[in-house]
Amino acid sequence: MRAIDYVYAARAKGRCTGIDYIRNIFTDFIELHGDRRFGDDKAVVGGLARFGNMTVTVIAIEKGQDTKSRVERNFGSAHPEGYRKALRLMKQAEKFRRPVVCFVDTSGAYCGIGAEERGQGQAIAENLQEMMMLKTPIVSVLVGEGGSGGALALAVANEVWMLEKAVYSVISPEGCASILYKDPGMAEKAAENLRLTADDMLEFGVVEKVILESLSDSPFHIIKNELMATLPRLCAMSGEELAEQRYNRYRKLGLIKS
């Protein structure tokens, strides 16, 4: 597969969305709404659920599964209120010492007038800071498109996993091609240059695990097993240890000539 094929696969309409992961991995999901400041962003779905005998906070970016729901969910592009809802739920998880599991699938944070008016940049920045210091375990799974800052705002975690056909990038290949080659049609070349596949992420240390999609075992089942192994281990760590591990995880990303 070419890099651009991974991008198309990540965006494919039939692909499972955030809600599918919540429904198939957890039980007793109760959705919670609102950021207590402005509104309720339908591109972000979050709430409480049971995982075995554990209560967890689950948050997903939801793209929608048919035309109507896609429009309702703004195609998975969140406004600041979506990131603020996620933060509210994460801080609540911290209060009750619940682990947080995020499912990330977005082409990016929404580029709209209202989004800018309500501080899209500030909302993302605040999430990055708060997630870094959160005294409860966070696991984030990239299940489709990892669209730049809009994805990172839910992916500052103790462990980040990625589905085999998911992609993670600082800019879309089309955006990159427009800037570099003045031609969005050069997206195939741009995708190669950007190094945005799951294997690339593993190589860079950006993710710890790649969840295979081509096996007979469903990704839901694989993720469930991985969470069963990982969550108890993380929950045994103190709040300070979790924040420290997270800090160090991101501290070493990037090659520096000392």
Binding site: Y110, G112, Q122, A125, Q129, G149, S169, V170, L253, L255
Partner: protein
Amino acid sequence: MFQFKKPHNELELIMKQGKKRIPHVPDEMFVCCPSCKTAILKDELLENANVCIKCGYHFYINARLRIHNTADKGSFTETDPEMQSENVLGFPDYEKKLTQAKLASSEAEAVITGFCTIEGNPCALFVMEGSFMMGSMGTVVGEKITRLFEAATERGLPVVGFTVSGGARMQEGILSLMQMAKTSGAVARHSRAGLLYITVLTNPTTGGVTASFAMEGDIILSEPDALICFAGPRVIAQTTRQKLPQGFQKAEFLLEKGFIDAIICRQDIRKTLGKLLMMHR
């Protein structure tokens, strides 16, 4: 046949113009203000911190000059001056772009970091350099800023930062994106230690820098008329196919919407910073 021959040199031009010699000043000595259209002598502009003497329009200013105008004389010691970027992804033409950027800016990278005093108040200082690949953030910018915050945390010092950026650096791919998380972590730790962080947003501050350390200051100041945004106006217009509000994404707009603390003219920045730092000692 009429032939128009371009004069080969100044002397020839003068001779062609006859006895009446037109005195002229080389173009480079004057700058035209894009706001009020007045022609200003470059030297005069420099003396006024690159602010138009007629209308107050804030021209671009390079990082070194900004440090010179902000820090107490002789107080600035630079940290990590030699840190340079590598082409980790093997991105095409990145080395060439880096070379061009170094020539254009006379700097090793898009941020200068160090320690200084401002009106006698010790602090850590970072100033981004807009002429180095548009002030874009790659691993070196992320690392330098992170190290500065870590050192400031250890020494119990406040941080003052001037931002100017086109956003995350595309040529370093996902590693540029990770710098947003990395810097935010260092800022968060510095904050948890009870230390002050003041950002001064300058024109333009955009993308991944806005969505990370630029908007994480305890106090966020801005120069007048600066463009401050996550997504740029052209992308917004393309996405929404709507007419953008007047002054959209300018500093004054952000002030109105509640996202910055104050707009300060460049000539008053030093004094304002000095006062704020003093109030937190």
